[in-house]
Symmetry: C2
Subunit: 206 residues, 2 copies
């Protein structure tokens, strides 16, 4: 029995190349959990096959800028001439339905979200050591040496930001990491500040 009925905003973040996407994917493959992706809003054109409200929310630049002005994003960024952001209202809708909204995002974005969503759960995915992360970046093999070098330097700048998160989960083995995230989600629901309201109601505590 879960005393907290509202869903959790679960922010999965970590340095460039740590394997956030793989962990997130493994998490969604686990059974018995009410997880949904956070869907981004963008001003770029839909590509063939992309579905509004599933892949992205597609909006005009005017609408996007209006939403920025009204503080309606948990975070946003510009990338090659287009905007991308996480719309607050859409996330809240899902949380109200009791869904855990998973946001997989880079460190900068996550720290932006932290400012706006105080009750989110912020998880930093860490590599088991530097070599493992650099090997991962190299193994992709598709990128230019300068790109790899840039990403390594970015990761080095991101390592010291782990202390700003609630939890640190080591991606030594992807299923371990996903499993630990599920434990965090279960534990967070049991936290007193999230469950005391329903508890007091249940036991008629004034």
């Amino acid at each position: 029995m879960k005393l907290n009925e509202r869903g959790l905003l679960v922010v999965i973040s970590g340095p460039s190349g740590v394997g956030k996407g793989t962990v997130r994917k493994a998490l969604f493959e686990m059974e018995g959990h009410d997880l949904v992706y956070s869907i981004s809003m963008t001003t770029r054109e839909p590509r063939e096959g992309e579905v509004e409200g599933k892949d992205y929310y597609f909006v005009s630049k005017e609408e996007f800028k209006e939403r920025i002005k009204n503080d309606q994003f948990l975070e946003y960024a510009e990338f090659v001439g287009n905007y991308y952001g996480t719309p607050k209202d859409k996330v809240d809708e899902q949380l109200d339905k009791g869904k855990e909204v998973v946001l997989e995002i880079e460190v900068n974005g996550a720290l932006q979200v932290r400012e706006k969503a105080k009750d989110g759960v912020f998880i930093f995915i860490a590599p088991p050591n530097k070599a493992a992360l650099f090997r991962r970046l190299l193994r992709r093999g598709t990128e230019e040496p300068e790109t790899i070098d840039r990403r390594m330097k970015k990761a080095e700048r991101e390592f010291p930001l782990a202390h700003k998160y609630d939890y640190i989960v080591v991606n030594d083995e992807v299923h371990n990491a996903a499993d630990r995230i599920l434990a965090i989600i279960r534990a967070e629901h049991a936290k007193t500040e999230r469950s005391i309201y329903k508890y007091n109601e249940m036991l008629e505590v004034k």
Copy 2:
């Protein structure tokens, strides 16, 4: 991979009759966890078959009082002329070995422990409703009506103290409750304040 290598002091508490003992038992039956009981120190005589350092640490009243004076208990109480307490040094020894030390204790004792062990994990076991708890108290059947009445009143006084704990776990079904406690233990190990030291060392963060 666990970044925090020190064990956790896990305090399982809750109102009279909620089934703390049953939950604790179910917890210890679960596999793959390094849980140990906290062993109490007492001034009462050992009963037949009781083993020093397994059932209790048996000490003289003089030694017990000396330990009280030196602030060597996480909590203690007097009960029908004898002292019972949780010795700090013994708990620390186990935590240093990486064991999770489980202390199952009444609300008053738990709140005493909270004062001395700031980094402990305090879990309040709640009944799914008042009727369930009162049914449990009645079902024991071995006690006098006055005893049952006293315990009910005690429980009523304990209900409002849940907010002093870190987590509230509903004992709707004993295995659910035990499972949620295991999730809490896993999550607590991943907490940034417990893992940042090893993380910084691992990734050479200055």
